[in-house]
Symmetry: C2
Subunit: 102 residues, 2 copies
């Protein structure tokens, strides 16, 4: 099992995280991951062209919001909760509490 | 005294708020406002061309992050704390706690 490139904990920038979350598709992915915890990319966006899905997961990963594990032909993605809670305490909790529907 | 257009409380979208905060200039403005509470637009961005300053304040206002009051020739801007805390509880607190330097 290997992981794709992601920024180090200290390199995660708040502006990059906000940019990643400013798109409705990516925000939807993140909020689903906050509930589901661990799920495959294909399952998360089953109705989306693969290229579009890859783009959104790349933005999330390169901003430091998610970590992607490659397991054979499958990509599995998780929220970097520890890193985000350490860098920006309360941000993920606030995201989970937001009253706006997904 | 009058205010410029801003979205109603129920129209504030999380993606628009995140977009507004995804720019380093605007994030800097918001974090200064969280401390200063009430300050003129000109004072906040004294070293910036007026057109650039106006653009950033418009994005912040139209996303629902700030409210702009017009007092004669001066624009005064405040964070919409009550609306944001109601729509997205904990988001402003998390922003204030973020360890990233301004």
């Amino acid at each position: 099992m290997r992981t794709l490139f992601e920024p180090h904990h200290d390199e995660i920038r708040l502006t990059a995280v906000f940019h990643a979350l400013s798109d409705p598709v990516r925000l939807d992915i993140v909020r689903k991951l906050l509930v589901a915890a661990d799920i495959s990319c294909a399952t998360l966006c089953a109705d989306m062209p693969k290229s579009t899905r890859s783009y959104h997961f790349r933005v999330l990963r390169e901003s430091g919001v998610t970590r992607t594990f490659i397991e054979g032909a499958h990509h599995r993605v998780v929220i970097r909760c520890d890193d985000l809670n350490s860098r920006f305490p309360g941000m993920l909790d606030a995201l989970g509490r937001a009253s706006e529907p997904v």
